[in-house]
């Protein structure tokens, strides 16, 4: 048993170092919250998109309809994407923990799709956008109260340099 827990520690340490190097898409790094490329002062950088434009919109319980606040952010996201055609984006959908896993995965996909449909309606090519439903796998706020759930019911537009693989 001792040997075994040591092995787990080593695996955990490797996992941590992998995180520090930046995970692939949002799947491994927890919602595109950290490390968008470039200087935030450069309006053409993904960091600017993330910090100044705003990379995420939030949803009401069980909903995938866009609120007026969400639409205001998505208008700015669309403008940025139209001005910076060399970038593509993965749109992550997320749900809070109040729901069963498979249903919440589908619900998070619906949220990602609502964002994509809106961006496309503003002229962004659908070929530049891809949904990534993450269900309740990657909460950004960890408490089990509505204040955290509200932050977790989100769609995050993660800017990618180059194509969508």
């Amino acid at each position: 048993m001792k040997l075994h827990s040591k092995a787990i520690l080593i695996v955990a340490a490797l996992a941590l170092s992998a995180c520090a190097n930046g995970g692939r898409f949002g799947a491994a790094n927890g919602g595109g919250a950290d490390g968008a490329a470039g200087a935030a002062s450069d309006p053409r950088s993904p960091a600017y998109f993330q910090q100044t434009i705003g990379d995420r919109v939030h949803f009401a319980v069980d909903q995938h309809t866009l609120t007026p606040e969400a639409i205001a952010i998505l208008d700015k996201q669309a403008d940025w994407l139209l001005k910076n055609p060399e970038f593509t984006a993965i749109v992550e959908g997320h749900a809070d923990e109040q729901g069963t896993a498979a249903y919440n995965l589908a619900l998070s996909g619906r949220r990602a799709n609502a964002v994509i449909e809106y961006l496309v309606s503003r002229g962004v090519s659908p070929a530049r956008l891809r949904p990534l439903p993450l269900g309740k796998e990657r909460p950004i706020a960890l408490c089990s109260r509505e204040e955290c759930y509200a932050q977790n019911r989100r769609a995050v537009t993660v800017i990618q340099a180059g194509g969508l693989s």
């Binding site: 491994a28 729901g99 896993a101 498979a102 619900l107 619906r110 609502a114 909460p139 950004i140």
Partner: protein
């Protein structure tokens, strides 16, 4: 497993005579449906080591049998220190008075030996103390010494079966997701273990998110969802060959929530296209994709009936997630959940009579069961978050995921009887979720 042959043997004329006596169905009988409150007292003396090489196994085998049987909540093991005598030979006549005096109703007598080929031989006899008769015949299992736990489980299954009249469930495995790390960054690995947590084996590393593994009826293959391509996609894993392969579905498709049909070849799963998630069926070996639902709502979490003719699933076509049943080839779906609340993760019982599900109501989660027409809903558990039920091979026990509340929340596996009694934590070294219970092993 062909090493592992089980055969019943008649242990001489004398015992056959005892067996005949026992056919009069004595008091050693548990009717599970009546709901057992008082566990049946059982004497489980350590198995006799018939040669020195078998000594290291004898006590361990007895302990596993005891843990299997008392773990059901239907039996109580009488402490060995209160025994008046202990069996010294497998074939000697039982001193029933000694066992009656300590109020044992059942006695399991067993012996272990290593044969000339180095194989472990485990045999047992079950006695009804009050009727002073043997219940059933002596039985013997032979296998590799490394399989000693399986042989113990097989003995326990046979004892359970003879006393309850139900199939057993101890010689079975559970595939699940082993979890480490913090709630927002959980690292997940597919893992498989015996139903009691022993013999843990990891099947994938933790480099990507894996979800909801499901095991085939023959116990050889696992369907699961992985993000290894960066997006959710259904894979099939051959356990023995440790080989995985994405199901042949168009590369861009987002697929999840797969489940095997009873043939181990048919697969039903969810595909998300645009805003819509629908159910499709295909085969493991890349058959054509057949669309089963086409509503604009979410259709997911499908599970086949044991005869493969119907599918129970979740849909929010009514506005909230509810349970529906349709033909396995699609068509009209009939809603079966009507209670107050939201329903999810339905699973058809292996006996075909019940659907287990998770239900969310008034800020709590429950594991429950209902008949396949939606009647007789019963909630078995209540907690902050219970979900993901899976059935024991005999349809008597449900294993599920329970998550604790808050930022330090962890997931663990629990089991509960379909009577709602005997809630137990399933031992795992790490966090654990999404269990799928295999059928009884061959």
């Amino acid at each position: 497993m062909r090493l592992f042959t089980a055969l019943a043997i008649v242990l001489g004329v004398l015992m056959a005579a005892f067996a005949a006596l026992a056919q009069g169905a004595g008091p050693l009988r548990i009717e599970i449906t009546e709901g057992v409150i008082e566990p049946l007292p059982l004497a489980l003396p350590d198995f006799i080591a018939e040669n020195a090489a078998a000594e290291q196994y004898a006590q361990s085998i007895s302990q596993v049998i005891g843990s299997d049987l008392t773990g059901t909540g239907l039996f109580r093991e009488i402490p060995q220190k209160s025994f008046i005598s202990t069996p010294t030979s497998f074939s000697n006549a039982v001193q029933f008075a000694d066992w009656k005096a300590i109020n044992a109703q059942g006695l399991v007598k067993g012996a272990v030996s290593l044969d000339a080929d180095g194989r472990l031989v485990v045999k047992f006899r079950l006695f009804d103390v009050f009727a002073q008769a043997e219940l059933g015949q002596g039985q013997k299992f032979t296998g590799a010494p490394a399989s000693w736990r399986r042989m113990a489980h097989k003995v326990a299954d046979a004892v359970y079966s003879r006393i309850t009249g139900e199939g057993g469930y101890f010689d079975s495995r559970v595939v699940f997701v082993a979890e480490t790390g913090q709630k927002g960054q959980r690292r997940k690995r597919l893992a498989i273990m015996d139903y009691d947590g022993a013999n843990l084996q990891f099947l994938t590393d933790d480099s990507t998110i894996v979800l909801a593994p499901r095991i085939s009826a023959d116990g050889k293959r696992i369907l699961y969802t992985s993000y290894e391509s960066g997006f959710p996609k259904v894979y099939v894993l051959d356990i023995a060959a440790a080989r995985k392969q994405a199901l042949a579905i168009e590369a861009e498709a987002l697929s999840f929530a797969p489940r095997f049909g009873p043939d181990g070849e048919t697969v039903v799963l969810s595909l998300q296209q645009g805003a819509n998630t629908d159910l499709y069926r295909t085969t493991v070996s890349g058959g054509t994709l057949q669309r089963l639902t086409s509503a604009p709502s979410i259709e997911t979490a499908p599970s086949f009936s044991p005869d493969g003719r119907r599918i129970v699933f979740v849909s929010d076509r009514s506005g909230t997630p509810q349970l529906y049943i349709m033909d396995a080839n699609g068509g009209e779906a009939r809603r079966i959940s009507f209670g107050k609340g939201r329903y999810g993760s339905p699973v058809w019982s292996p006996r075909g009579d019940l659907i287990a599900f998770a239900k969310q109501a008034n800020g709590r989660f429950h594991i429950g069961v209902m008949r396949t027409d939606g009647s007789e809903e019963r909630l078995l558990t209540a907690s902050f978050l219970d979900e993901g039920p899976t059935w024991s091979p005999n349809g008597r026990v449900i294993m599920f995921t329970r998550e604790s509340k808050g930022a330090q929340g962890v997931r663990a596996l629990y089991s509960v009887d379909i009577t709602g009694r005997n809630l137990r934590r399933v031992p795992t070294e790490t966090g654990a979720s999404d269990a799928a219970w295999s059928p009884l092993l061959p």
